[in-house]
Amino acid sequence: MTAKVSLRGLYKIFGPNDAAMVQHVKAGMDKATLLEKHRHVLGLRDINVDMQPGEITVIMGLSGSGKSTLIRHLNRLIDPSAGEILVDGQDVMKLGQAALRDLRQKQMSMVFQKFALLPHKTVLENAQLPLSVQGADKAKCDAEGRKWLARVGLEGFEDRYPAQLSGGMQQRVGIARALTANTDIMLMDEAFSALDPLIRTDMQNLLLELQKELHKTIVFITHDLDEALKLADHLVILKDGAVVQQGEPQGILLAPSDPYIEDFVSDINRARVLRVRSVMRPVNGAECDGEVEASKNLEDMIALTGGDTNLVYKVTDRDEVVGQLDMKDLVKALVPRVSGQ
């Protein structure tokens, strides 16, 4: 599978002479030294990420880790100091003004943390913005705008103004706007961070539901590990502008590569996040006490067994046996691995 979006050796340094500073960073200078000696701020260091089509790639990191800087490189709201950004194999850095605008209109749409809706336009006008910018005729704009607003659950609110809606509803408009653009790639910059927890869960479910249907390539930025684990097909963890670990989220949870990530994942409710598929072993012919779906999470399993650790289950995926689950392994998996043990 070829990647939809690839970042190759991406560096970003903030300051007047950033291109020259890349050499220092490549030679191994760290963020503090660069700031002290050369008065330049290191934004991103040697980022290599492949984002597969139809997957949700979540980029996670604490504030200041460079995640918002990173997502703005994909549509070149920020230009890198060095490196390549490939979209469908084409280097975005080589695009001229018009081609770049075309890319932003037709290939990538974006959802923002602070919604960034136009306050003087109605909800419908906001939702149809990407199409009207491209000069589509009014009837098409209208139909598409209404369709996607209805899809995100905002039917009947078309003629309101953004200020009249709650935060969650405003972000639904933001999502409808991104969907109206009908692009393959959707960039979501902390899209749910400004919402309160219950609405955030709603919006996450909405996104997963839409994704099941639309199979877009989504790049999602968050600082919330629970959210990251819930949404991610591919998880990238950033720290101080560099990738610390990336891969399948369950894999990262079970095998953190570095004390920073161990720290990070130690507070997670592992029983809810981990799935049977991640802790099962190959079938060895032992006697089984029943069958379970590979996609069940461990919490469900504990509830199913009533806490009995002597049971062994056959694991199935679409009616095919793929492995077996010993409840003892399950219990072990609940304890976070700590380095040195």
Partner: protein
């Protein structure tokens, strides 16, 4: 002996100084010194500030202060014909517009003019109370026989404000897009705003004939254009950065960004600037009457010149009334723009 002779002697400049001595005409100070000899002796005893005039006494080659002002005047006069050659055709349309609008406002009968003005008021303010108030004021002007002069003033304010907005908004947009432009233009705006209003008129009188209406037109526009430029610049710079980023992310062209995002969001600020521009052009109309601008200002001037207290005060209050209705109408328009975007 003059106070600073020693300095020039010490520097070995005495010969250079004396070359053209005694040619210069006598200054007022010298004249006074001659007539009242005792005082002059007392002055030279101390250490006078080394001003141009004092240094001139010691060294004839150094000019006096009056040479500086004369130099400025000479300099201006020497480029006057070239300046006139360029500016005259450019500004000629202003004369036509002012004369044309004045003609329309004066020749249209009151029973046409007042309803038209009220319709405009209703159109921009959509407020019954404001429209009623404007109607009362206009009828009051008619009642005290000041209708014609009020219309003249109103015509001048309309033309000058219109042109200020037409020129000021694009300049403000340019300023908001470039920090260099902003750094260059802001001192000019400061100058225009602080220069005493009469000073505008002096060079203009040299350039154009006093009977031409563009003379006062230019003076009013120069003075009144400042707020609309400043507030357009400010308004566009204050547009939410997140919204601008979203506009970029969805691939809006520079023009689409300006027309769909920046200008609509800056509109309340721009309207506040227009309101200020109207007020300032009204303030300048009185001073412009010194150079033949018709209207209420002429009556104020007559009040001052002939000490006709009543005439001056009635005309002055008339200007206040005009200012109030223009302010109310433009504020109502501003409020309408402001609420159109928020809750209804």
């Amino acid at each position: 002996m003059a106070a600073y002779d020693g300095v020039f002697d010490g520097l070995g400049l005495r010969d250079w100084c004396d070359e053209g001595k005694e040619d210069a005409p006598m200054s007022m100070a010298q004249l006074l010194a001659q007539s009242g000899g005792g005082d002059a002796a007392a002055e030279t005893n101390g250490l006078p500030f080394p001003s141009l005039d004092v240094l001139h006494e010691a060294c004839g080659r150094i000019g006096q202060t009056r040479d500086l002002t004369a130099g400025i005047e000479q300099g201006f006069l020497s480029i006057r014909s070239e300046l006139k050659f360029v500016l005259d055709p450019i500004t000629q349309p202003l004369s036509w517009m002012l004369d044309g609008t004045l003609w329309v406002f004066q020749s249209a009968p009151w029973w046409v003019m007042i309803p038209v003005l009220l319709l405009i008021t209703w159109f921009v303010s959509r407020s019954k109370s404001v429209t009623t108030f404007v109607a009362l004021v206009l009828l009051f002007f008619g009642f005290i026989d000041h209708y014609e002069v009020a219309m003249q003033t109103l015509a001048i304010v309309f033309v000058c404000t219109g042109l200020s907005v037409l020129l000021g908004v694009p300049i403000g947009i340019g300023m908001s897009k470039s920090d260099t432009a902003q750094r260059t233009i802001v001192p000019i705006l400061d100058l225009l705003q602080t220069l005493p209003t009469f000073v505008y008129l002096i060079p203009l009188i040299f350039l154009f004939s006093v009977t031409e209406s563009k003379l006062y037109g230019i003076a009013i526009i120069l003075y009144a254009i400042v707020p609309v430029i400043r507030l357009t610049d400010l308004g566009i710079r204050l547009v939410d950065k997140d919204v601008i980023e979203a506009a970029n992310a969805f691939g809006l062209t520079a023009w689409q960004k300006l027309s769909r995002v920046e200008l609509p969001l800056a509109l309340p600020n721009i309207m506040a600037g227009v309101n200020q521009t109207i007020m300032m052009s009204l303030a300048m109309v009185v001073i412009a009457s010194l150079v033949s601008a018709p209207g209420l200002g002429v009556l104020v001037l007559r009040g001052i010149r002939n000490l006709e207290l009543g005439v001056g005060i009635v005309a002055g209050l008339g200007i206040v009334l005009l200012a109030v209705i223009l302010d109310r109408v433009s504020k109502a328009a501003l409020a309408r723009v402001d609420t159109a975007r928020k809750e209804h």
